[in-house]
Symmetry: D2
Subunit: 323 residues, 4 copies
Amino acid sequence: MSVTWFNQFYKEIADSPLSAWLELLPGQISTWHKEQLHGDFNKWIKLLGKLPQTQPSLINLTDQVEFGREADINEYTQKQIIGLLKQFMPWRKGPFQVHGIHIDTEWRSDWKWDRVQPHIQSLDNRYVLDVGCGSGYHMWRMLGENAKMVVGVDPSQLFLMQFQAMKHFNADPRIHLLPVGVEQLPDKNAFDTVFSMGVFYHRKSPLDFLQQLKNQLRPGGELVLETLVVEGDENTVLMAGERYAQMRNVWFLPSTDALCLWMKRLGFKNVRVVDLAATSIKEQRATQWMDSQSLVDFLDPNDHSKTIEGYPAPLRAVVIAER
Amino acid sequence: MSVTWFNQFYKEIADSPLSAWLELLPGQISTWHKEQLHGDFNKWIKLLGKLPQTQPSLINLTDQVEFGREADINEYTQKQIIGLLKQFMPWRKGPFQVHGIHIDTEWRSDWKWDRVQPHIQSLDNRYVLDVGCGSGYHMWRMLGENAKMVVGVDPSQLFLMQFQAMKHFNADPRIHLLPVGVEQLPDKNAFDTVFSMGVFYHRKSPLDFLQQLKNQLRPGGELVLETLVVEGDENTVLMAGERYAQMRNVWFLPSTDALCLWMKRLGFKNVRVVDLAATSIKEQRATQWMDSQSLVDFLDPNDHSKTIEGYPAPLRAVVIAER
Amino acid sequence: MSVTWFNQFYKEIADSPLSAWLELLPGQISTWHKEQLHGDFNKWIKLLGKLPQTQPSLINLTDQVEFGREADINEYTQKQIIGLLKQFMPWRKGPFQVHGIHIDTEWRSDWKWDRVQPHIQSLDNRYVLDVGCGSGYHMWRMLGENAKMVVGVDPSQLFLMQFQAMKHFNADPRIHLLPVGVEQLPDKNAFDTVFSMGVFYHRKSPLDFLQQLKNQLRPGGELVLETLVVEGDENTVLMAGERYAQMRNVWFLPSTDALCLWMKRLGFKNVRVVDLAATSIKEQRATQWMDSQSLVDFLDPNDHSKTIEGYPAPLRAVVIAER
Amino acid sequence: MSVTWFNQFYKEIADSPLSAWLELLPGQISTWHKEQLHGDFNKWIKLLGKLPQTQPSLINLTDQVEFGREADINEYTQKQIIGLLKQFMPWRKGPFQVHGIHIDTEWRSDWKWDRVQPHIQSLDNRYVLDVGCGSGYHMWRMLGENAKMVVGVDPSQLFLMQFQAMKHFNADPRIHLLPVGVEQLPDKNAFDTVFSMGVFYHRKSPLDFLQQLKNQLRPGGELVLETLVVEGDENTVLMAGERYAQMRNVWFLPSTDALCLWMKRLGFKNVRVVDLAATSIKEQRATQWMDSQSLVDFLDPNDHSKTIEGYPAPLRAVVIAER
């Protein structure tokens, strides 16, 4: 079954600007499928196979991500869907509405989209890449903006399952998630817009990461980068310790000036910060669909301007630039 | 342009039993395209691009290979087509009829087809592979038998051009020629019928070749093998010298008994010889479309039962077996 | 420990005509060591480690292979050595004399050497390769002829252990066994003499095998090939069935004329048969050191001129040629 | 000839802690030799071959690098050597004394060594790696401290020639320069001490570089890192523009506090700054052996505390840490 997902992608790209991906990607996906499957992968595939076939009377991708109305299904089916989808917890990025089921995710990713969307070029008819796409919430919103094709990459196999669970209710051939890292993608300058939100600070080599994003963009294409930043001038860069807000694997947190300088150094044009926002404990919090600790637990209980480790609390910038 | 040919193939196979080919083939084709192009390749591509667009009022693939009637085009266009197609000389396998143009090839490949076709399983709805397909004459005849898909492999780039020149007049999405050797194909047991006519005696390792053919067949699939043989018992094998009938690169010429024994040793079932025929100088001869030496020049002028080197003259067997 | 064997080899060849082997071989050996070890490998290594250090008062490699005298060790040590060496049974190629211990192997390989040695060029100061060297009996005899270096290749790990067990008693830096196939060796035309005895008939592709041997020889170097043959003319080739004299994996058995023809076809010069001998049941038989079935059990009990399957009984030819 | 250099290295390491390098390095060097030779490589090899054989009456590696006395050779030979060595200009790191010839290099690398040497662990009997070794000046000084083996890596082929030119006068088997990058070296934790002086700021990914250095060190081994730094606190990092002091390819210039923080983040222990020094125009300047522009030309003519681009002038720190 999982193989079919990718065969469908290959079919879609064979006569597209992404066709050169066929030189590498199917071999990588095949290796991944043989050697790197998550221990629960086959269990997850079985669960996905149990999702009932429904007839959504509505698909809404413009102001939220909504597949079907409650009235389209009966109560038993709704409970069945809830039971299956809860097996894919924790749900982090969302929310999703599925036949009246409100998947209340840890993040209000719609708030982030609202901060980003007004500043970007129209996605109409564009090839769009989302690097670090998670379960794909923003990908659906990009599709809602009429993208010609939306490709997400994220190595997490749980996110892949969550994405496929949602795609089950809206099997749109224009949207695909690939379980690979951006560093595995061939440098083909094929996309009109590249998003990367919430990934940069996990990278040990920020310049190589920016270069990889650039290598995916066609000349003139647009990069939309969202990441953690700190206050300071163009020489200010915070190196996180072993943990930052309880996250392992956080590395460089530059100021917005430093970040913009780095992007210019690599040749990005028209680099500008379009949004800067402290993450609120209303935007990221525990829910019924993500019931472990969340932001409020990662901040200093006496001073929400600091993380529990004493670093400045999460501050997120959206930077836009062109290749 | 040439890349488009193969992208179309990738698209066709992405959701077919051949989908696993995508793991290797696009990378191989890309390497081929970067490193192994014939010196005339780009010239040939330009010539192909000059072939006029026509509206064939008839496509006949059943008793011959015929694309369009003479009346479909004017005299000037006909001359133009003839001029372009002659640039791809020598034409060896055929004949083809294109808008009344008779491409009179060195070989009457239709005679061979008539000896083979009555003995094989119906090709209706089957995936068919032709190993060493030349310009593709037999592939069209296979399509005429209603194959679901016909794939030919042959490393010769001139043959690829001749094939594409014919496909220009009948752009059927079910027929594809790949410029690779059978040894490069992934072992996926994906084909219902595998043909290999006129290749076996060019192989230094006949058993490995038979094994490669077997590895392309699904269990129960049919192999149709045509090759040069000699008279003799099951222990008789002629090793050609540096040249056989002026051909370099001829190696093992077994008796039909030896050949059948070898095939059984590799696990082929129901192995039987269905045709045995000395090649006549009417079947293989110089024409206006292949104007250099042909069979008559390669035989002993005083004794047509011998090659010019003194070996037995060409005797060809068709052997059929199942996997 | 085992790694040390090969490091020693690398050291020896680094400034020899074989130095180019370093480009590939250490990587292959490392892969072999990681992925392809026999289930008993580590047990064997431990056993080797228990072999007592002795002071051989004699090394004889000229008329037999003899390391040390019985008087060099006491009775307890002799029993210890016998007990350890028997763990590496079955011993096929020999015999060996170790401090008075007579390792009476299945084969009288010394008889074969006596048939081969008189016909070959002097090995004095030459780089010598033995393809399919088994436990290395002939390698020691080659060293006894004053070869500069003797390299054996054989993928069997039990043979490697037997070889190292013997080398324990005579750690000569000029003799090395590599657990790889000849097809893995880089084509460097580095050897003065290449032996291959008892391998050819196990090859599915006899011409490729002959070519591989040729690719190891320097121009003018000598090939010494020993293999099973059948009676017949230059067009006679027996293809064995699933078993020949109970051996699986036997393929082409040509007549000596056919074999010589094949070798000439590949460019070998001065090809000649120097010995032809039916294998006697005295030359290959069960012993205390190889206590399962042997030749007598593989022949037709009523007619020793036939194998148990009805083929001609083993007839072995020694063919010598130059590159 | 050049191949011989590396074969000698392979021989030396085959039974050393570096033996595992044989799995990769000879293949890489062979690829380098086939595909990446400098256009002048063969010319340089010929020049090296013309260096006269001399009998140095003295080898001094302790307070300077000196091979032979002036009196060891006649005037003609001295002129010949000077003429040949000047063909390898520009000479950057030194100085070297060769039979009374003073190779006055752009850098007084001896001054740097004097700042580094008092702070490091004794090199006596250690395996030492110098990453970015240039022409090898410091390598000779390391050998002068009685290192067991000194390996330098630097991709510059001119530096390789300068190194071999010096080694011509002192063919010590313990010292080797490999024309590869540190990222190509297998991670074998084989060295007791790793030096990297003057490389860090050329790296686009400083953390990956530090990690690569760490991967060469045995547990407890010592890293000696010298690089450009800026004044500032642990959050201060200067990203250079397209040029810094006229050098292209300069990236991260952290403060010493930031640099130490980064090293600790990667698990280095006992990280400390042992020296901090502004580079003087006496330490880096044009000479007869490097006759183009040097530091004085790269500084602001009116204010030597700034580079010509307006950045802080070169300030260099030596940081030492343990794995």
